[in-house]
């Protein structure tokens, strides 16, 4: 069984956002780059399934500049078999990224395509279901559990105030939520082995943009609040301000 995992390199969640010179994107100066945290769950789930079946291949795909290759190398060190780097510098909106990924994914003829629920930079939560539609594959987003028997997967996803249980025939697309699994760390052996694994570089065709990013702005800073007191003595004043000033009680 061929499994493809789409992974994105993003700014570390510790990053303090500064707006770049173009006024529309993140200033990359001083930013540490990581694999999108949700994509780690996707890589882990693919590896677990391959280990359980004791067969198949896990291919990781990333679209981006030179940094994408680093992230691909990390996934190879976790245990993925080979990588495809769709080379593209600069921005792309979710539809454009989906188009380029769909073309590369289609050529691998996969049984399962894995995505993170959302990339923690653009927070779009779009690319998984968009690729699924472009490939005309069934898709379940933000899954919290995964089980496979006879080419049919049973998965659960959290919805407001409950859970949906979904049955899906393969081939299919899944996007992973936190809680699905505990991603592994790359072992030293894995890191050494990754150096010899192939990264296939391909050109990416993004097509026309679906969105125009007009500006990136910082949110208005919250005005400094106040400490209204120490310990239980402060409670009456808290109740008063919540009722009279904030009017939330």
């Amino acid at each position: 069984m061929i499994q493809v995992v789409c992974i994105k390199q993003v700014a570390d969640t510790e990053t303090r956002v500064k707006v770049g010179a173009d006024g529309r994107s993140l200033d990359p100066a001083g930013v540490t780059w990581i694999m999108n945290p949700y994509d780690e769950f996707a890589v882990e789930q693919a590896l677990r399934l391959k280990e359980k079946l004791a067969a198949g291949e896990v291919i990781v795909v990333s679209l981006g500049g030179a940094g994408a290759a680093t992230t691909l190398r990390n996934a190879l060190a976790m245990g993925a078999d080979r990588a495809i780097h769709l080379k593209h510098d600069g921005a792309g909106d979710p539809l454009q990224i989906s188009r380029a990924l769909a073309t590369a994914v289609r050529a691998t003829n996969p049984s399962i395509v894995w995505f993170g629920r959302q990339a923690v930079d653009d927070d779009a939560a779009q690319v998984g279901p968009m690729v699924a539609e472009l490939l005309d594959l069934p898709c379940v987003t933000a899954i919290a559990t995964f089980d496979l028997a006879d080419q049919k997967a049973t998965v659960e996803r959290d919805i407001e105030g409950g859970r949906e249980v979904v049955e899906v025939n393969l081939p299919a697309v899944f996007t992973t939520d936190k809680g699905l699994n505990e991603p592994r760390y790359a072992s030293l052996k894995g890191i050494m082995a990754a150096k010899k694994k192939p990264i296939d570089e391909q050109a990416a065709d993004l097509g026309d943009p679906g969105l125009n990013v007009l500006a990136l702005e910082l949110p208005p800073a919250r005005s400094a609040g106040r400490i209204i007191g120490q310990g239980v003595e402060a409670i009456p004043e808290l109740i008063r301000v919540l009722r009279e000033e904030a009017k939330v009680l």
């Binding site: 927070d123 979904v166 899906v168 939330v248």
Partner: protein
């Protein structure tokens, strides 16, 4: 040019997020000069006639027996058909768990962009401009739409329901789709214990962090939450320790919330936590460390021991409730 709005129902009830989206559509209507058309996929009409008062000029009820639960392929087809027929300038979805799943599918089928999880919409020179948080709220993107229709999903609890009422004329449309060909099927929905409200749709949230020292002490958080009519949230430290379920995590790798009141107890205020809750209307922090970063975003803070403050605060809230029934 019309505005088309997806209406979400579950188990025979129209969900309140739909009214928020309709409210915003009715406010935008003047700028586009057309109608607000609501599209409601369902198995049986959950009350389409109420949507006029919420802002709809027309309501298309798209009935199919498979639409008793969320049917991704069928809903996508229904929305694409409605859009091709109405040819709206703008299409709006709620950024609920269903809307977040459905909107990208519809956009991909139409080959147009989607601005997801928006917190403000405006019209500039006759064109829609959306604002949406990125980097979990550490920055905001301003988005324009080069293609038509402009599609956006709207974050729950940000937009006010109750716009200008529309005529609300109800039309019935046959869903033209074969559910037997579905390759993904929702076989069951299980309600969470106690039928609790989701964090993203809660008016008030009380979150506990590692300062609560152990899962057994979350009863203190739950008691305060109950007195306030609030939902319980948690920091990632607490979720990773297995004290609370993943569905309660607030932050960059959890839920992004904007309640009217957020009470953080024993939460230090790491940047990833702040990202998920700093758009709350009013923030209260209770922490024994006066230098905890959470106090930098809190409107009101109490420095002290959560184990003393929580029971007393719960009693005080109950007294207020009793005095104002």
């Amino acid at each position: 040019m019309s505005i088309l709005v997806f209406i979400e129902q579950r188990e025979g009830r129209i969900r309140s997020v739909s009214n928020e989206v309709l409210g915003e559509a009715s406010r935008l209507k003047a700028s586009f000069g057309g109608e607000v058309v609501a599209v409601l996929p369902c198995a049986a009409d959950p009350g389409a006639s109420s949507l006029g008062a919420a802002g709809a000029d027309r309501v298309q009820v798209v009935t199919h027996e498979a639409f008793g639960v969320y049917d991704p392929a069928g809903y996508t087809r229904a929305m694409v058909q409605a859009i091709e027929q109405v040819k709206p300038a703008v299409v709006l979805f709620p950024a609920s768990s269903l809307g977040k799943d459905l909107a990208p599918r519809v956009a991909a089928r139409l080959g147009v962009g989607l601005a997801s999880d928006c917190t403000a919409l405006a019209v500039d020179d006759g064109a829609l401009v959306a604002k949406r948080p990125v980097f979990a709220g550490k920055a905001l993107q301003k988005i324009g739409f080069p293609k038509s229709p402009a599609i956006a999903s709207l974050r729950p609890k940000v937009f006010a329901a109750g716009g200008t009422a529309g005529a609300g004329a109800v039309e019935n449309v046959a869903a033209n789709f074969d559910a037997a060909a579905n390759r993904a099927r929702v076989v069951r929905t299980a309600a969470a214990a106690g039928g609790k409200v989701d964090l993203t749709e809660s008016e008030i949230i009380v979150s506990g962090g590692r300062g609560m020292k152990g899962p057994e002490h979350f009863a203190l958080i739950e008691n305060l939450a109950e007195a306030l009519g609030a939902t319980v949230g948690a920091s990632r430290a607490v979720v990773d320790a297995g004290w609370r379920p993943h569905s309660e995590q607030v932050g960059q790798t959890g839920k992004t919330v904007s309640p009217k009141l957020y009470v953080a107890v024993g939460v230090s205020g790491a940047i990833q936590h702040l990202a998920g809750m700093s758009s709350s209307r009013c923030i209260v922090a209770i922490n024994k460390d006066p230098d905890a970063p959470i106090f930098k975003v809190a409107d009101y803070g109490i420095v002290g021991d959560a184990f003393e403050i929580l029971p007393a605060l719960t009693e005080a809230v109950k007294k207020v409730n009793a005095a104002h029934v």
